[in-house]
């Protein structure tokens, strides 16, 4: 199996996410043993944000890191495990609510592809960028 980032790279729909991870300097952390649960927004999710949003974040690594860290939970949790709890604490500190089990919704994003197991964690693909607050 591959690491989370390698899995993402090979999928081909996470270019923006990977660029963001690099810009935020989180590559090293996400290559580590983890384990992590990562909610990975597809490229279309980033494109759906209003113009300039991503650019501003990319220009400011600490701020970008905060948004990205909100997409990561400590520990590797499958969909079933996630559905058992209403809130999970993200690495950023703010809680990530699980709003529905069927269809699987994390905050205001729908998980289009769940339980992609990797070496250092599990990835769930979401269709929107989730934001703390």
């Amino acid at each position: 199996m591959a690491t989370i980032l390698e899995t993402a790279a090979s999928a081909g729909v996470f270019n923006t996410l990977l660029a963001a991870v690099d810009a935020a300097g989180l590559r090293g952390a996400l290559e580590g043993p983890g384990p992590f649960t990562v909610f990975a927004p597809v490229d279309d999710a980033f494109a759906a944000l209003p113009p300039g949003t991503v650019q501003t974040l990319v220009d400011n690594p600490p701020q970008l890191a905060r948004i990205l860290k909100y997409h990561v939970l400590a520990g590797a949790h499958s969909r079933e495990a996630l559905a058992g709890q209403s809130d999970w604490e993200s690495l950023e500190g703010a809680p990530v609510p699980i709003r529905r089990a069927e269809p699987f919704e994390v905050k205001n994003a729908t998980v289009v592809n769940a339980d992609i197991v990797c070496d250092n964690g599990v990835v769930h693909v979401i269709d929107r960028v989730i934001l703390p607050g």
């Binding site: 759906a48 944000l49 209003p50 113009p51 300039g52 949003t53 650019q55 501003t56 974040l57 220009d59 400011n60 600490p62 701020q63 970008l64 890191a65 905060r66 948004i67 500190g93 709003r99 529905r100 905050k107 205001n108 934001l131 703390p132 607050g133």
Partner: protein, 434 residues
């Protein structure tokens, strides 16, 4: 999600209508509109007042940064409003050719109308000191009152306030304080005796920087809106609101920091690396603290606790512009009226014409423009509400009824804040409210 929020709905609505008192407004919000009704006059009024607001704001943000970064802990800051040339010419990061994210097509320097006003004021050409003493100047006291509202209400969301109590902040502040008062045994001695007092001053200055950075963004947003309107680019109030929503998102990630310059050296009291963002640490706390809450104005409410005129619960404070009774404008002790006085100097001609034709014409322009300002701030609040909905909830054209109900609950919760009698939401629905 694209630039416009308005959904195309040709089928029957998926959820039953709301039964809230403000059901009309909620349905309008769900259709992508604003709390302010969409009429040509409303659009004209709010754009005009945005422009009139942005000109003094251009001064506010520069002077706030000047105070936070240069004046710093000056014990007798008699000249804190005498902004230095460097800060007056400080380039706005969101305007001009040099900006990385250009919001306004205009220049990065201070607005020419502002400079003209600083030269002449209402009285004429005089030495700056006389202008200052005569109070014929931009009323910075309003900006400081906004800052104090944010400082006092504290936990309005975001991490900013918690950081101000952290050890890292205290260490940073300590270094800066010691550097600032180097060679001043009296102040250093005072600092040893009363460290918390100095720290609190630094916290206040951090909020000053926060507000300055917040308004640095809002000024070019409003200038650009005025320019777009002049070209006919806005078809209605929802268009103006959408522009604000896009603007909010575009700048959401802007870092909030507090750097102080002492003796040529930069002290990072709040470094950018802490990750504070414009949206979470500046905009949302500002809206909550200044639009909704603010503080009761001396002279209009008794501060006597036994009189129970001021609510015990800070969350119940309702002295912001959204709840304001605009008539006392001009009375002493009401800082927002200082803003009305500032805006009076920069009204565009089409707005002056509206005021001349209604109520008492030029005699009560201050009250009329105050009410226009209230409408415009309801529009800004609508933009913030829509932006929050967009960030944390679902698109307006979502087909899942559960998502739509979540949106509905969110809107209703927002409208619940306007149920109290002082709220002006029902007043602004009518054009007669002037």
């Amino acid at each position: 999600m694209t630039a416009s929020l308005a959904p195309e709905r040709t089928t029957a609505p998926l959820i039953p209508p709301s039964t809230h008192r403000y059901a009309d407004v909620i349905h309008r919000l769900e259709a992508g509109g604003s709390m302010l009704p969409d009429t040509p006059e409303n659009l004209k009024q709010i754009i005009g007042i945005y422009k009139a607001y942005a000109v003094p704001m251009d001064f506010y943000w520069r002077d706030l940064l000047y105070i936070a970064e240069r004046v710093f802990l000056n014990p007798l800051p008699a000249f804190k409003y005498f902004i230095s040339k460097e800060y007056l010419d400080l380039p706005n990061s969101y305007a001009g050719e040099q900006s990385k994210l250009r919001i306004w097509r205009g220049g990065e320097k201070a607005h020419p109308e502002l400079l003209a006003f600083m030269e002449r004021g209402e009285t004429g050409r005089m030495p700056k000191l006389l202008h200052h003493l005569w109070h014929d100047r931009v009323n910075m006291e309003f900006a400081e009152a906004c800052m104090q509202a944010m400082l006092w209400h504290q936990g309005m969301g975001g991490r900013f306030n918690d950081y101000l109590e952290s050890d890292a902040y205290k260490a940073n502040a300590d270094r800066a304080i010691k550097a600032y008062f180097k060679g001043n045994p009296v102040m250093l001695g005072l600092y040893k005796l009363f460290p918390e007092m100095f720290l609190e001053q630094v916290r206040q200055l951090s909020y000053t920087a926060n507000l300055g950075l917040f308004w640095e963004v809002m000024a070019p947003v409003f200038f650009e809106m005025s320019d777009i309107y002049d070209e006919g680019g806005f078809k209605g109030v929802p268009d103006a609101m959408d522009f604000l929503v896009n603007g909010i998102f575009a700048v959401a990630g802007r870092p909030i920091y507090h750097h102080v310059f002492i003796g040529g050296e930069c002290f990072e009291i709040i470094p950018k690396g802490e990750g504070f963002t414009w949206l979470y640490e500046a905009a949302l706390p500002y809206v909550e603290a200044v639009f909704y809450r603010t503080s009761p104005f001396r002279g209009t409410k008794s501060y006597n606790a036994q009189a129970h005129q001021v609510p015990d619960n800070q969350a119940d404070f309702h002295y912001g512009i959204l709840y304001a009774d605009v008539y006392p404008v001009g009375s002493a002790g009401i800082p927002p009226t200082l803003l009305m006085q500032d805006m009076l100097h920069f009204l565009p001609p089409y707005l002056k014409e509206i005021y001349r034709e209604h109520r008492r014409g030029e005699e009560d322009e201050l009250v009329q423009l105050g009410i226009t300002f209230q409408r415009s701030m309801y529009n800004v609040t609508s933009a913030v509400i829509q932006a929050l909905r967009c960030a944390l909830l679902y698109p307006l054209d979502d087909t899942d009824p559960e998502h739509l109900m979540a949106n509905r609950r969110f809107f209703e919760a927002q409208m619940d804040r306007f149920l109290r009698p002082e709220a002006r939401l029902s007043d602004i629905q009518s054009q007669d409210y002037r």
